[in-house]
């Protein structure tokens, strides 16, 4: 099982800084998450606030996966990343 690590980083969104996390798998960048407020998810069907996949790479990127809903917490995001790393093209 790959070693998933996080690194806090500030992400520039809408001209302002958002809390962000780099998600690394065995030291390779696989996802960038940012903290979104309920204002940014207004009018949506899912989670009101949480962590949004700003960018994904490899199995977490747009070539192989579709954009996931906003995650409740970082743990849920990591679970999604792990599933993607395992699944390849076979599932979203």
């Amino acid at each position: 099982m790959p070693d998933i690590t996080l690194q806090s980083i500030s992400v520039m969104i809408d001209g302002g800084a958002h809390d962000g996390q780099l998600v690394l798998s065995d030291g390779h960048l696989v996802a960038v998450l940012s903290r979104v407020t309920s204002q940014e998810t207004a009018g949506g069907r899912g989670q009101a606030e949480g962590w949004f996949l700003e960018a994904g790479f490899g199995p977490c990127g747009p070539v192989m996966s579709v954009s996931p809903p906003v995650f409740v917490d970082v743990e849920e995001a990591i679970m999604w990343v792990r599933n993607r790393l395992d699944a390849g093209l076979s599932a979203h």
């Binding site: 979104v36 940014e40 009018g43 979203h92």
Partner: protein, 242 residues
């Protein structure tokens, strides 16, 4: 039937003159009017309807569902749109049409459409034109979806909806009612709700549009068109012999 002008007639008359007889034929083609509530299907994928649905009022969406319940809206329909005129010839619906708001729907039996195509060649061409414009809109959407930024794509959609609503008398100077949620806009533009909110915020910040509830005001039409790379040629808005 006594009611205000059928919006389909407004829509077609924007493009070419209709004779009184042709207008009467369209009015008389309506067999019944029904109301479909928001989030209900007007027609379902796989249906073989015996009539076509003309939207008199409200907003509707053509859609398809892919795995995990994800939805793509492939067309937005406003008053005057003949939502599934094509089911007259395609027979089996390859997609569904959903009411986004309460919709007033006029039903036109396929047998009546057949009679119109037998007896009114010019009106038949106008209905053909209507489906050709639907096709032109699909081409434009595909191009915007594939090659414009999310902000430009949204600007393009707003420009188009504004003009389409204006043609059927649903716009007041620079203001239209657009009761479409961010989730529905996301399904239309292929964006997450987060991105829809950011894009709307960006267009607001740039002084291009304003949303108050579901009332959209266009603050700077020229710049909005420029941002969305919008030219209205594909809507065939000019009145000429067809």
């Amino acid at each position: 039937m006594t009611r205000m002008t059928n919006p389909l007639i407004l829509k077609l008359e924007q493009r070419d003159h209709l004779s009184d007889e042709e207008k009467r034929a369209l009015e008389n083609a309506i067999s019944r009017v029904r109301v479909v509530e928001a989030d209900e299907d007007i027609v379902r994928e796989g249906d073989r309807p015996g009539e076509s649905s003309l939207l008199l009022d409200g907003f509707a969406a053509r859609y398809k569902i892919v795995s995990n319940g994800r939805r793509q809206i492939s067309a937005l329909h406003v008053a005057g749109d003949f939502i599934d005129l094509h089911s007259f010839l395609l027979k089996t619906m390859d997609h569904g049409v959903l009411a986004l708001t309460t919709c007033r729907i006029a039903s036109v039996p396929h047998a009546t459409l057949e009679k119109i195509t037998d007896e009114y060649p010019h009106l038949t061409r106008m209905l053909w034109l209507d489906t050709l414009i639907d096709g032109a809109i699909h081409r434009e959407w595909l191009t915007a979806m594939g090659r414009l930024s999310a902000a430009a794509h949204m600007a393009h959609l707003i420009c188009e909806l504004y003009l389409r609503l204006k043609v059927v008398g649903r716009a007041e100077s620079d203001t239209v009612q657009l009761p479409i949620t961010q989730a529905e806009l996301g399904d239309t533009l292929g964006l997450s709700t987060v991105h829809v909110n950011r894009v709307l915020q960006e267009l607001r910040k740039e002084g291009l549009i304003r949303f108050q509830g579901d009332v959209l005001t266009i603050l700077d039409w020229e710049r909005l068109k420029k941002v969305g790379e919008f030219t209205s040629t594909y809507l065939s808005l000019q009145n000429e012999d067809r």
